[in-house]
Subunit: 354 residues, 5 copies
Amino acid sequence: MVKLIRKSGNTRGLPPGSVVHVGDKKTADVHISVFDYSAAKTQEYDITNVEECFSLKQKPSISWINVDGIHDVEIIQKLGDCFKIHPLVLEDIVNTNQRPKIEEYDSYLFLVVKMLSIDEQTQELRIEQVSLILGSNYVISFQEQKGDVFTSVRERIRTDKGQIRRMGADYLAYSLIDAIIDNYFGILEGIAEEVEIIEQDVISDPKPEILEQIYHLKQKMIHLRKSVWPLREVINSALRDDSALIKQGTKIFLRDVYDHTIQVIDTIETFRDMISGMLDIYMSSVSNKMNEVMKVLTIFAAIFIPLTFIAGIYGMNFVYMPELSLRWTYPLVWIVFIVVGASLLAFFKYKKWI
Amino acid sequence: MVKLIRKSGNTRGLPPGSVVHVGDKKTADVHISVFDYSAAKTQEYDITNVEECFSLKQKPSISWINVDGIHDVEIIQKLGDCFKIHPLVLEDIVNTNQRPKIEEYDSYLFLVVKMLSIDEQTQELRIEQVSLILGSNYVISFQEQKGDVFTSVRERIRTDKGQIRRMGADYLAYSLIDAIIDNYFGILEGIAEEVEIIEQDVISDPKPEILEQIYHLKQKMIHLRKSVWPLREVINSALRDDSALIKQGTKIFLRDVYDHTIQVIDTIETFRDMISGMLDIYMSSVSNKMNEVMKVLTIFAAIFIPLTFIAGIYGMNFVYMPELSLRWTYPLVWIVFIVVGASLLAFFKYKKWI
Amino acid sequence: MVKLIRKSGNTRGLPPGSVVHVGDKKTADVHISVFDYSAAKTQEYDITNVEECFSLKQKPSISWINVDGIHDVEIIQKLGDCFKIHPLVLEDIVNTNQRPKIEEYDSYLFLVVKMLSIDEQTQELRIEQVSLILGSNYVISFQEQKGDVFTSVRERIRTDKGQIRRMGADYLAYSLIDAIIDNYFGILEGIAEEVEIIEQDVISDPKPEILEQIYHLKQKMIHLRKSVWPLREVINSALRDDSALIKQGTKIFLRDVYDHTIQVIDTIETFRDMISGMLDIYMSSVSNKMNEVMKVLTIFAAIFIPLTFIAGIYGMNFVYMPELSLRWTYPLVWIVFIVVGASLLAFFKYKKWI
Amino acid sequence: MVKLIRKSGNTRGLPPGSVVHVGDKKTADVHISVFDYSAAKTQEYDITNVEECFSLKQKPSISWINVDGIHDVEIIQKLGDCFKIHPLVLEDIVNTNQRPKIEEYDSYLFLVVKMLSIDEQTQELRIEQVSLILGSNYVISFQEQKGDVFTSVRERIRTDKGQIRRMGADYLAYSLIDAIIDNYFGILEGIAEEVEIIEQDVISDPKPEILEQIYHLKQKMIHLRKSVWPLREVINSALRDDSALIKQGTKIFLRDVYDHTIQVIDTIETFRDMISGMLDIYMSSVSNKMNEVMKVLTIFAAIFIPLTFIAGIYGMNFVYMPELSLRWTYPLVWIVFIVVGASLLAFFKYKKWI
Amino acid sequence: MVKLIRKSGNTRGLPPGSVVHVGDKKTADVHISVFDYSAAKTQEYDITNVEECFSLKQKPSISWINVDGIHDVEIIQKLGDCFKIHPLVLEDIVNTNQRPKIEEYDSYLFLVVKMLSIDEQTQELRIEQVSLILGSNYVISFQEQKGDVFTSVRERIRTDKGQIRRMGADYLAYSLIDAIIDNYFGILEGIAEEVEIIEQDVISDPKPEILEQIYHLKQKMIHLRKSVWPLREVINSALRDDSALIKQGTKIFLRDVYDHTIQVIDTIETFRDMISGMLDIYMSSVSNKMNEVMKVLTIFAAIFIPLTFIAGIYGMNFVYMPELSLRWTYPLVWIVFIVVGASLLAFFKYKKWI
């Protein structure tokens, strides 16, 4: 299950801007890779020593520095010092409790988004925090671990597909966010399948296990929503941003991303509506089932208990029971049995219980 | 059932503006038809080769190019190139996951609306995406398949009924949207009938099947709402639009459409309220029914179980049971039976259970 | 029951501004009456030929043209032509699906409000659409049928009571709206009585019929709300209107009407809250009742079933049952009966079920 | 119970500004008292003839005219004429259906607030309408009956405590509103006690009577909310008021009152949340109880019904039942009884029902 | 349990600005401590006589006067007189019913926030009111009792860690608020654990005690929410504040605090959603359990009651019952028993009840 909140006990009491990692340490070592590209050429290499990327800041080409693993605060700190990142931003990068947000600083924009994936084994939602620093000619991205949804972006840079190599750093940042949000649709498709399966089951065969499934789906939606809802405001802010960091030409693409975000939110809300509808149906069908059980019990009990009583009467051992010695009384009792039983059956038929 | 979200796996990872069809391929081949009209005359013809309509852009007359079938992205792309449509717009046209929206570009407006219909066989809601490109002297409409609600618009152009031939392309776009929204009222009338039937049933005879009907109605409303709700903002934006594409004279008609949209939304909300009220009633009446079943059971059990016990006592085979040999004990036991039974009946009468 | 939506199949596909009556034809023939008044004198007469009122437009006196019956579109059309009413307005007047609204045109304001009444026989809510055209020196009111809440307004004009004859057409329009909203309070008073009756019943004697009553009340509130809620915005718009049609002196009265509208909405919301509270109480008390039924059943069954079993043991016909022939065993069994019965009673007493 | 709406049948159809009392006549005769004070001295006297207070308007000292009893419309009318109060205001003063509001007129502000009290005998909420007219040097307050929460204000004027005698009429009006809102806290404290008592009961011993208590509490909250909620906007309007009637120095005090209003609203909302939580708990615990009842029934029935059947078998009178005459069969049957009974008990133990 | 509202009976009727303590007296005596620091040096001492700190106002260094215990109004009053605090502010400081707020005065800002802690013994939420006065070179903080979350702030001043000694009084105030909000995360972590434990229990083993736990958790969330929700607006106001009291350089830190507040609110809302989901699950699983109990009862009763009846028939003592003396009838009855019992079992198997 997604953690509701990560322990951050060790950060309390520290001065603001203290860079302390909060979250699960998801990878053993930090891995820094760099894309350095312009319309003409692309360079791609890994970095083992963080100082190597300091020179990128001055180069006219666009640099994308991707950091996998944020638990080694020293590296984050060094990068921050070089690129003149505010300590509060560094603090936020390593604290994975952030909600999606955008913050404008003098020479860069700071964005936090959540990258989602479904654990293939447990089918649970995994949420990974991705922080982006967008400078005039560079983008630094911080991820909690290796493995992301940026493969296609990398491919496009390498193969010069689309216009990515001819656009600025803002377009690169857009491409990364777009890849993350595009991925949400995949998550939603998976959930849509779950919803459709549960939907059929809840009407045709409402077993108690469905309750648990509905509950888990609901919790998933709560976490999804928490990750996606603030994105709307984030991208809207980026659209209204009037610094030079986001160029007018990129904004038309951001508007497209904004649209996608609204679509995602819309779909999440639709799912929530449907799930809550299913719960109602489940509750009602449990009541219906109980009703049916009760009817069966009542019909059996109401028919046979009176009959047993009649039989009980003539099982009494009184010496003076004149009926007992008459020849026609035993068949008569049988007639009584049949008449009483049939009348009660007719009564339940009339009540539409049968 | 309406798909919650269409698979779009093949679009992920592509650069923005990649025109890839997302949705069900609802028609075999693409069909393009053109209306080319002015106040004086109307020309109406089908086009087999998309290049044929490139000339229309330059003509002073108003052209309506209608494309049925959006899965052939090549055709869409060619049209887009000729009319200088932004790649992101083309991407949206062929992706049927869009929500209703309006986007303003330099030389055209891009609108997405949802055309609704009821499948005559399954009684299910079908949602078809209609995209409109409104240029200064042309309207391009994209539909997923043949068959639409624009028959009357075509008829009015052909027969010069109303003022449509004397107005611009904006009036044509308005007429198309108006036809789509007018059609919503028909859908709502159908739903109103369903609501009224279920309403009567839920009070007079609340069977378990009603639950399923209510559920399907509720899901229908969720999908309807998702299609209509954003329209409000779309048309409001069109009203506030200050480009030259929508003329002041057309805005009075748009205001009328806006009104209709609000009416539709209002009615949907009313339906939702009513459906949720019905579910409450259904749940309560199930409880009521169970109550009645329980009462019948309790009355039968509580009356006959004590009597059976009494009969059981005198069915015991003890040698020394002096009552058994007395002459008046058997009639006395009958009196006891009647008194106990009557008292219990009176008790239940007093409790108002009978 | 109030129709959720009126069939308007015959309007679909017509060009905008097509004046086609949508709704029930509530009256056989159209009836036009005119009040022509100034501070000095009042003229009141019926009109059989619609052309007769064309002259009123030019006269300096204030004219109130009231049209009962809107199904004869020809008459509406003629009036519209004379007073230069926009075709879309005429279309709205004869389509009774409108929600309350205000629209500003160059030389007149167009208002739609809903006049409510309670059918004396069925106790159902009836909603009638009243459209008002407010010109500089005239008011045209359109009603669906004869019979309205304007009697007092007419009386005030006739008898020169209040300041109505010294004020303009805007004051007349205000008076009509005020009369309609004043009438809402009467409807609400009736509903308040219903609410109070159901409220007492739901606590003292929650019968299943109450459920139906609550449901009907709830539906009534939904329709009331739909009629009244938009009025708030309508009158607010009229207050902010800066055309010359509504004079400053009248606005103080409109503010009073606005206040009344808020009061009505407030009361409707309070009713909704109370009704939803009642439904909760009803549901809970049904559960409580079932609980009580179950307790009675359980007490009877749990006491007498074990006793019957004991009696059954000594009803067995085994040859070797030494107890049967002992003298003190029969009284002992009676003691067992009493002890077991009393213990179970004590147990249920301890459980507070008795 | 608080009336939902007061009958106002006799006001309908009257011209606007008709001063007709709507509400219960709560006091026999009207009582007018006057405080006439300046920093230097205070005069306090009752008035029997309304004309006596006309002179106060011209005096430089601050006058507080308090009217207890608003059913005598003649007196209200005379006061209104002298102080040039708009007829619509007078109409509102005598109609106790008003919601809290503020209205600005040329030479005065008109405020309506609701004074709350708890009936000591029935513990029901009583709502009394208090109208205030704030002029440049006078405040007129209208109450429905004698008895109010202004004792401390009077005392402060008499004894020159605080700064009230050195401030203007606006400070007096503020003091009155402050006294009314201060009193709300007392009401809320009483409700808090009720909430706490019900809270304990609902968990420890959820009896059906609690349902009624929760319902009454809920209704009380609905009425409280209706009285207090609009106050927020009223005082906010007074704060933003830029007429000379409310001086800057008084606004700091109004801000304090605004704060208190928010506190009251906050507390009401918290109560509503808690009450709705209690209802959920009550419903669940009723279900729990029923569950327990059912378990007891099921355990008794499931154990003894099979045993009774076994006993019944050997109670049959067939001639050829070889078991009956065997010596060890009777003890064997006892062993069967014990084994079956114990197994079923174990089964229920395993099911955790015992 | 947190008090919903503190008795304030003794403040009603007093003139505004009357400084009367409202709340529990949580500490015996008032304790005043002072930090007087600049970049160069720090002085830290306790004060026994309130006059001692009057000189601090004039000193150029930054002073932090912390008052533990607010029940001694005389001390508060003296401090207020010296630092020229408005009487309404003093009134608010000693009244612990305040909601979080910010108020701007000429020479200082007044802030109220709520400091939360969990009682280690009862696990209940404790809420303590902290009031801050932020002047140009001093901060006065008022707490209800000793013991707070400011230890780390004190440590940072003492050891010159971070930049606190080089910043102004506004940064000190920020640090205090930051410490309080940081502490909220600790509270939330505790609640997250509770939520996770209940979550597992509600699905695996829904006992009635869980209901009480859910209820208490829900109440805790209501109180938390009431304390935290208004903070958002408070800090937003501080951010928009344009007085010289909050310097631009501090605002970047305030924005960080704002972010944390949103995170806290977000998490609270997520918890509320989850808790409400759990309640639904609990309710459903109670219904499920009842269903299962009913099934067991019905199966036992429906199988053995008919069988007992059959046994009862042949327990009757009629003289003429020819079956009784036939040799094969007793085995036949056994076959009937087995066939009937097996058929019923099969029926319940078919119904999927077993």
